[in-house]
Symmetry: C2
Subunit: 335 residues, 2 copies
DNA sequence: GAGCTTTATGCAAACGTTTGCAATAGGGGC
DNA sequence: GCCCCTATTGCAAACGTTTGCATAAAGCTC
């Protein structure tokens, strides 16, 4: 079994110094003689000593914790299942750790409505990264107004007074459209829900590019949830009712694209011969699906870094602005 | 901007009571008159008051936090990308929240080698859930010996003195083998790395079932990393060198199965006519792939609940034992 | 109305750090 | 030998809760 927990005072006694000296030694404070510092650090290591974070946070009024708030769209409590979102969280985690911070994984369920109160006043975290603007933009707004250090993963073009990091969704939509047109598409279809900020921008860019190329007839829109199941169902229904009246799909996410592909393949619609498909995100599956999926890649690694850096800059009192990540078309077999 | 943070003493003053009364009122302590309790709780809500968690933790010697430690196999710092793992984490998160705890997302990188010291002595969490036994079972072992409240997601058959929750991997392997045989497979192939505890059990169950059915020749084994890319490469190589000398695949995970499927499809090997495939996990993609993937489903929701409940039971001083989750074969088109 | 129990509240200590300030010692200049 | 300066260390307060114990008021018994 474990021996009783050492506190700083015990360690100090072992070393024959005062607690203040021990504290400074562990923090490598130059006030303390180099030799003493090393001796105490050595001693701490030998005894597996670690500071009581609770006490330290209380005293310092700083937690060294960043909360990641997954902003679930649905009111129903449910686990996240889009691999892309999880990838983003995972990359944020890495970036957070690299800066010596810890990651509190939270969600709208835990935090309630008063985010500032819960996280900041409650001394649970020093700042918050919100993943997904969701439909509760009001909550983000009010937390930001209350002075909560905050960065949001979303669409950076959104007119908001909080800091947003996200991909250039409009350009993404445009690239997808240009690509489909260059492949000869005459009747493109957009698959997704433009009410959602990021997806809305993708839709706008998509439509604008198509209009500018003078495709006859406007671009078709099929509003669905961001799940492969919804896409599968929607495409199935559409084929049954309208027949195959499109020759290109731009899906708002890879999962959606994959769901659509499945429906098409089951009905022997050839990809890419009959229908060209472009997705969004570039999750691992995009490369593994057959045919592999052409898609717009979002750089989650850079996103993680940027989100964290901007948040830390805010904590340092710097003025920070939204920024947009470059995206890029990855051509594969589906188009 | 936000007004200056209220502390409990301020709230008490507003209510015209002492801090102790305010504290008890907020915790619904029956010592305090019902009416007073309600009045103070109401006041707290109005003023968006929240307790300083750091102070509370210091005083209570309890954090109400559970750490989830992702035990990455590789030494290289890298983000997790298997959707299944992330699903597990996500379901743990739900279960943790449901119990009123918070989730600290951590990894072997942050925690160093002395997990007990870091999490427990450091008062960062009350207990730890380790996801993935990985190759550092020694670290788990020593943390457990040190008395760290701990539950591990892994293979419950492992002979260890810490508590493990996981699927019945051996049975999973057996089910997969029986299924492939019932489909007429004569030359099955196992895709995965049996050194890994969970996968090893799947392999054992698989081989045992095959041997008992008297398939001539032993079961082929292709050792690969648990990624779709590795599977894709390995199957490609194998087809080039050995030709198609197998007619069934049991992949250690769905991602691996999907990678293998891609390689086969690219070479016009028909699934399931030429090769039957069974995966493991039942991630969302299994249903969306084409052909959809027959697989052994792991119940992550139940896993999350069980992991958390067992951990909390430990915190309550109860004796807890490992347990095994039921799994089930989900038949789809790939077999 | 004295004594006792019950109900409701307040006082003050403790949790384990960090840090401003004071204190001590040693060294050098004169 | 005295003074001052620097280098190193220690003292004690403060961070904001929670809770054992003391207290006070009120109700009850006889």
């Amino acid at each position: 079994m474990h021996q009783k927990k050492l506190k700083l005072a015990d360690l100090a006694k072992l070393a024959g110094v005062s607690t203040s000296t021990a504290s400074r030694a562990l923090n490598d404070n130059p006030l303390i003689k180099q030799e003493t510092r090393e001796r105490i650090q050595q001693l701490a290591k030998e005894h597996n000593f670690s500071l009581n974070a609770a006490a330290s946070r209380l005293r310092l009024q700083k937690t060294k914790v960043i909360a990641v708030l997954i902003n679930l769209d649905s009111e129903t409590e449910q686990s996240i299942d889009d691999p892309f979102l999880l990838k983003v969280v995972s990359d944020i985690n890495l970036a957070v750790n690299r800066q010596g911070y810890e990651l509190l994984l939270s969600n709208s369920f835990m935090a309630g409505d008063d985010w500032h109160g819960y996280f900041i006043d409650g001394r649970r975290a020093d700042g918050v990264i919100v993943v997904g603007q969701g439909k509760q933009q009001a909550l983000i707004e009010s937390a930001s107004k209350a002075g909560m250090p905050l960065v949001v993963w979303g669409d950076p073009k959104t007119d908001a007074d909080y800091v947003i990091v996200g991909s250039d969704n409009y350009l993404g939509g445009k690239l997808a459209a240009d690509h489909l047109i260059s492949r000869g598409c005459k009747a493109p279809l957009f698959l997704g829900e433009p009410e959602h900020a990021e997806i809305g921008e993708r839709y706008n860019g998509f439509c604008a590019a198509i209009a500018s190329k003078g495709i006859e007839g406007e671009c078709q829109l099929l509003k669905i949830d961001i799940t492969s199941q919804a896409a599968y169902d929607a495409i199935n229904l559409k084929l049954r009712t309208d027949g195959l009246n499109f020759d290109g799909i731009f899906a708002c996410s890879d999962m959606v694209a994959l769901g659509a592909m499945k429906a098409l393949k089951e009905r022997y619609v050839s990809i890419p011969n009959d229908v060209h498909i472009v997705g969004f995100d570039d999750i691992a599956m995009a490369d593994v699906s057959f045919p592999s999926l052409t898609t717009i890649r979002q750089d989650t690694k850079q996103a993680g870094e940027l989100l964290v850096n901007k948040l830390l800059a805010q904590l340092d009192g710097e003025q920070v602005v939204s920024s947009q990540l470059a995206i890029k078309l990855v051509e594969r077999q589906s188009s």
